[in-house]
């Protein structure tokens, strides 16, 4: 598990030393597709900063097979229509490897294009199971699935012995998928779910929903979706004196929820990938981020770093920049990355990925609860 970074450092620098400096013949373009603007741009920041750092470090160590990596960054605004447009742009630019996209609803339509065009894609953030369930050869991820995260959340809630739990979602692929998984887990465990309801993403007024939650007399509310809506629900729930604990997936766990919900964010439960930045082996990398003035603690920073690293190591292992060869190499190999040892199954999902329950605080910090 240790010295995952050193691994590439040594591997890559050894080959680089042999090939001597200035031998970068052509550049390998890595497309980075995610939201730079729009309501979930803060997740995009995590993705871009992680991927950039990986590209920078790999290049500093001589690149991949003597070639430098070049980032081609595009903004999909987390909008499925925009995702298709930028995917086509990457195709036109001759990109063969993509780190992205972020939102499942963007990743899915974009992955159709990549698969058709023979481009390898690793999403560092999309958790919808659907994405890897279509028999695609070139689609991978460095994150777990809703079908893993939902049960973790559901089992945790069930372990608290609640009387009644409401499950709310934003009707989007990510939110509804995860909410459904939570509901099924809760019902299996015999917890009553009196309310399973959708809201409209982008809505601002949740007073009716909060009133309904109050009427339903629930102890816990699970919300499947992103922070802009949950932040408002928390705030409006607090104003209406709703006495229930909220829980959400990693889509709500970032510091922006604090600026919206303020004090009301205290005590929110969130399932997140484990804090990779706190792992012993990653301290050197964490320092590199801090020297650049960037925050490595977001859930998608190191998954994006790992995605770039996997592409680089896949190319070296396959000794080819052909995406199909690289995909085959990724499926065969076992890779040491900042997010742990990565091994892929035939669908392109990681063999194992762990989610942890955190308690969120109103100052934007979090503490693990189990």
């Amino acid at each position: 598990m240790n010295t995952s970074v050193k691994n590439i450092v040594t591997a890559v620098s050894a080959s680089a030393a042999l090939m001597a400096s200035g031998s970068a013949l052509a550049e390998i373009k890595i497309g980075i597709a995610g939201p730079m603007t729009g309501p979930v741009a803060q997740y995009g920041d995590m993705q871009f900063s992680g991927a950039r750092m990986a590209i920078e470090q790999i290049n500093a160590d001589g690149g991949v097979m003597g070639e430098k990596l070049e980032a081609v960054e595009v903004d999909d605004v987390c909008d499925p229509k925009q995702a298709v447009t930028v995917a086509n742009r990457l195709v036109n630019e001759g990109v063969q490897f993509v780190v992205g996209h972020l939102c499942s609803s963007s990743t899915q339509p974009a992955s159709d294009i990549y698969e058709d065009e023979g481009i390898l894609m690793i999403t560092p953030a999309s958790t919808s199971p659907e994405i890897t369930s279509r028999g695609y050869e070139l689609v991978f991820r460095t994150i777990g699935l809703d079908s893993m995260q939902g049960p973790v959340a559901g089992e945790y809630l069930a372990s608290l012995n609640p009387d009644r739990v409401a499950v709310i979602h934003d009707k989007q692929q990510y939110g509804e998928g995860i909410a459904t998984a939570v509901k099924e887990t809760l019902e299996e465990k015999g917890v009553e779910v009196p309310m399973f309801d959708g809201i409209t993403a982008g809505d601002k007024d949740f007073s009716s929903l909060v009133t309904k939650l109050k009427q339903a007399d629930v102890d816990y509310v699970y919300y499947g979706g992103y922070h802009p809506e949950l932040g408002l629900i928390l705030r409006q729930a607090r104003q209406a004196n709703l006495d229930a604990t909220f829980m959400g997936p990693e889509g709500v766990g970032n510091k922006d929820i604090n600026s919206i919900a303020g004090e009301a964010a205290e005590g929110l439960l969130v399932t997140l990938p484990p804090a990779f930045d706190e792992k012993e082996a990653n301290q050197e990398l964490v320092k590199a981020f801090e020297e650049k003035g960037e925050d490595p603690s977001g859930p998608f920073v190191l998954t994006s770093y790992a995605a770039v690293q996997l592409i680089a190591e896949g190319i070296e292992k396959a000794e080819s920049t052909d995406p199909f060869d690289v995909a085959a190499a990724l499926r065969e190999g076992s890779f040491e990355t900042p997010i742990g040892t990565v091994e892929y199954d035939s669908k392109g999902d990681m063999e194992s990925f762990e989610f942890v329950v955190y308690e969120w605080h109103s100052d934007g910090s979090k503490t693990p609860v189990n």
Binding site: S207, Q215, Q239, S259
Partner: protein, 306 residues
């Protein structure tokens, strides 16, 4: 079904409805005078909310914490900036093309709306910005343990401010000289101009008044919801426009009534059916009204002018 739950949903609906009504005034006044829809109005409301937030943040940085002062300054800033934006919309997107084909100002207003949206996007960033919680707390009714109906102070503020604005506007239209001129222009633009009314000034004034009320709504709803983003004017504008049409476009009491009906129907739908059907019901209502009473609830049928 007059229980606490119903009452709570009614309060929620009336709050949001009265804010819709404030925005709807802008649509209905402009339509009443020049017979056109100001599609940039939702953005004026959004700009009002942003200005208020900037003012509140600025005052907090200066150490001013006395609530009435903060609210008053935020309100004045929002009204001034929004009114200027409203005036500019009229000057840039309407006046140069007035008297041409009706589609031309419609398109130029949509252009204005896209411009303003993207301008705020660039200037303020596209992220949701949290609005500080200024007015906290509220009244609670009902026994402890039961379902308690609550009215928060901010809901009361929204309701009362709307009433004051509406009363002020009605008085202004009915009694003041400019108000009289407004009514004259809305009846016959050409004739009023012949009788010595400065119609350009009156038309600009309606845009400004509508924008000022939208700015009030921007401040109130920003505080009530808790966050704003550059796109939130669009859907609010659409809802307010629906309210204006529902009540009878061109009629000021109609805008009030339309806003309240829309707000209550939305909160009842989320409360008794599901939040997913909220927009279905409110826009379905619009279609029904347009089918069976095309002039809206309080609108007067347009008399063909000869």
């Amino acid at each position: 079904m007059l229980d606490a739950y119903f009452l709570q949903q009614l309060i929620n609906g009336l709050t949001i409805g009265s804010a819709y009504a404030l925005i709807a005034i802008g649509y209905t006044m402009v339509y009443g005078i020049i017979g056109m829809i100001n599609f940039a109005h939702g953005e004026i409301y959004m700009i009002g909310a942003y200005t208020a937030l900037i003012a509140i943040t600025g005052l907090a940085a200066l150490g001013v914490a006395f609530l009435p002062i903060v609210l008053l300054v935020a309100l004045i800033c929002a009204v001034i900036v929004s009114s200027s934006a409203g005036w500019a919309v009229e000057r840039i997107a309407y006046r140069p093309v007035r008297g041409r084909h009706r589609l031309i100002p419609l398109i130029s207003a949509i252009g204005m709306s896209i411009f303003l949206q993207n301008y705020v996007h660039l200037a303020q960033g596209s992220r949701n910005m949290g609005f500080p919680l200024l007015i906290e707390g509220g009244f609670r009714f009902g026994a402890e343990g039961d379902f308690q109906t609550s009215i928060s102070y901010i809901q009361i503020t929204i309701f009362i401010t709307t009433l004051i604005c509406m009363a002020g506007l009605s008085w202004f239209i009915a009694k003041s000289r400019t108000g009289r001129a407004c009514r004259a222009v809305s009846q016959d633009l050409g004739m009023s101009s012949l009788l010595g009314i400065d119609t350009n000034r009156i038309i600009a004034a309606t845009f400004v008044i509508g924008a000022a009320l939208a700015a009030v709504a921007g401040l109130l709803l920003g505080m009530y919801y808790g966050s704003i983003d550059p796109l939130f004017g669009f859907i609010a504008g659409l809802k307010a426009f629906t309210a204006a049409v529902l009540g009878g476009i061109g009629s000021i009491p109609g805008a009030m009534l339309g806003g309240l009906i829309l707000g209550v129907s939305e909160s009842m739908t989320s409360g008794y059916l599901s939040g997913e059907y909220k927009d279905v019901v409110s826009f379905g209502l619009l279609i029904l009204i347009l089918l069976f009473k095309p002039t809206g609830l309080l609108g007067k049928p347009e008399v063909e002018k000869i």
